[in-house]
Amino acid sequence: MESIIQGKAYVLGKNIDTDQIIPAEHLVYSLSNPEEVKMYGKYALSGVPLEQGGLPEGGIPFVPEGGHTSPYSIIIAGPNFGCGSSREHAPFSLKVAGAKAIVAESYARIFYRNCVDGGFVIPYETAQQLNKLILTGDELSIDMQNNTITNLTQNVTYQLRPLGSVVDIVQSGGIFEYARKNDLMAKSQA
């Protein structure tokens, strides 16, 4: 697994719910057919009201009109990212669009689990309000060994919370890979 994640920042506010990440009307597409999968990239974060996307200026779509991938690979957000529904289509759509990591003040439980167990994007937490310090388009670098994020544009480094007990699942790339490694795939004997 790579230990450095580098890319441009896309900055959002607080309580970005799953309807904003992938609006419900798009949940009809296949998550395995390669052509249909592109639709999830195209509509990733399309439910965010335009003025609230790409802060601090706003008005910047995550995925440019007509495309299905994003120029931004690190999402910076406030508290409670991914609240709302259980749809795994949400972290999936961010991954399809090209996101590699999210750095938020906190996450809703189901979204966090989905990110980790599905191996889609890495959900980092930060104690600081980084969405007030980082600007959309800033070049960022996450050091996974040292749990830091460096804003290369502003030349400043911040601490991230360690991933804690889920680090093994993240490093394995998801719950199935983790379970195979640890011999956890047997059926329940209840």
Binding site: D19, A24, G47, S85, S86, F176
Partner: protein, 431 residues
């Protein structure tokens, strides 16, 4: 060591005597629930990970209730139903409730209760965030994603962190103008949409135990709106009677120990609470109905797992009887059973259905419908700058369709009163 009810259910499912808050444990799953939006991708992952010929761990424990995108011309939505049908056939799943047959039920959380799948003391996981609804039955219910659900399909187990519990006690006698929706919106305003993240929300007090199972489900349904892992209400005679009328399966009843430790405790006297709404665009944006009364609305919507049960329609009928609605008002029963009860249940000698029809409401077929927007031809979907008063559970931007619309979450009484006047209206003006 003292434990909460949620800890005791975890301990049972982990084959342990005691589980500690914060530790991750592997739980044996009693029921896995899925529906048309998350079922197909879950089955895909299951086949990919366990092999094309793999069998689910226990066909009796897999419940498949299509409910999200049912009455639409959208071909991709139809394909999802076909995929459910195909998988249910391959796996001989006895608990598949097919669309277009007399087995179709409607909204999964309400149908689970009707069909006797909600058993005290058990562990339910579902690919829907409102799976916490079933906590009304003194059981653990929570939402998960497709990958976790596929893992359960193959193994019958899943890891979960033992949650801390928060306790919400409602004392006093419920006034006729107040509903479970007002209670949970009150809590949401107090603790916020992340106030219970990764925690259990335990509801207690004489006002809670005076509620019908429908109303208790409303309370637990919106635990997720505070970020809660689960909502839970201990079993009493009302629960037992409801469950025993629907299933003969045995079950175990757990109660929190008197000295159990809580993250926090909240106490309310229901006689001092007012009807409230959650204003756009967040379920915690609480205001008393009186403080926003007069705000013009364009639509009223009474439906969903949280607001489309028989009790919700009985409440709405109290206000709509003999009156006319001033705005488009959609009545969306959660299930086929609730839809049939609209014809058989009466208020002051008139069937609920006829009350709603005479008031000028549109009565839709049972499904999730516009609670989550849905495909463009979904009944009740918000358009443009609609201002909707709705008994549903979420009002983030775009939730009911248009991202320019505003949604006020409210009780069925408030939604009905507002439908009559065309503006937000406290139900006490009519009761």
């Amino acid at each position: 060591m003292a434990q909460t009810i949620t800890q005791k259910i975890f301990a049972r499912a982990a084959n342990r005597k005691f589980v500690d808050v914060g530790e991750s444990v592997w739980l044996n799953v009693d029921v896995l629930l899925t529906h048309d939006v998350c079922g197909p991708p879950t089955f895909d992952i299951f086949k990919q990970e366990f092999g094309p010929d793999a069998k689910v761990w226990d066909p009796e424990k897999v419940v498949v209730l299509p409910d999200h995108y049912i009455f639409t011309a959208n071909e991709h939505a139809h394909r999802n139903i076909d995929l459910l049908r195909q998988f249910a056939g391959e796996q001989n799943l006895p608990n598949y409730y097919d669309v277009g047959t007399d087995r179709y039920r409607g909204v999964c959380h309400v149908a689970l209760a009707e069909e006797g799948f909600n058993l005290p003391g058990t562990v339910l996981f579902g690919t829907d965030s409102h799976t916490c609804t079933s906590g009304a039955f003194g059981m653990f219910g929570t939402g998960i994603g497709n990958t976790d659900a596929a893992f359960i399909l193959g193994t019958g187990k899943l890891w979960e962190k033992v949650p801390e519990s928060m306790k919400f006690t409602f004392e006093g006698k419920m006034p006729e103008y107040l509903t479970a929706k007002d209670l949970i919106l009150q809590i949401l305003g107090d603790i916020g949409t992340d106030g219970a993240t990764y925690r259990a929300m335990e509801f207690d007090g004489e006002a809670v135990y005076s509620l019908s199972m429908d109303e208790r489900m409303t309370l637990c349904n919106m635990a997720i709106e505070a970020g809660g892992m689960n909502g839970i209400i201990a079993v009493d005679a009302v629960t037992e009677a409801f469950v025993k009328a629907r299933t003969s399966k045995p079950f175990e009843i757990f109660h929190s120990d008197p000295d159990a430790v809580y993250h926090s405790m909240y106490r309310y006297n229901v006689e001092k609470l007012d009807p409230v709404v959650a204003q756009p665009h967040s379920p915690d944006n609480r205001a008393t109905v009186r403080s926003v009364a007069g705000t013009p609305i364009t639509k009223s919507y009474i439906g969903s797992c949280t607001g489309g049960k028989l009790t919700d329609f009985k409440l709405a009928a109290k206000i709509l009887k003999g009156r006319k609605v001033a705005v488009t008002t959609n009545i969306v029963p959660a299930t086929v059973l609730v839809a049939s009860q609209l014809s058989t249940e009466t208020y002051e000698g008139q069937s609920l259905r006829s009350i709603f029809e005479e008031a000028g409401c549109n009565i839709a077929l049972p499904s999730c419908a516009a609670c989550l927007g849905g495909p463009s031809d979904t009944v009740g979907r918000s358009v443009d700058n609609d201002v909707v008063v709705s008994t549903t559970n979420r009002n983030f931007p775009g939730r009911m369709g248009s991202k320019f619309a505003g949604v006020y979450l409210a009780s069925p009484l408030t939604a009905a009163a507002s439908a009559v006047t065309g503006k937000l209206t406290d139900p006490r003006d009519f009761l």
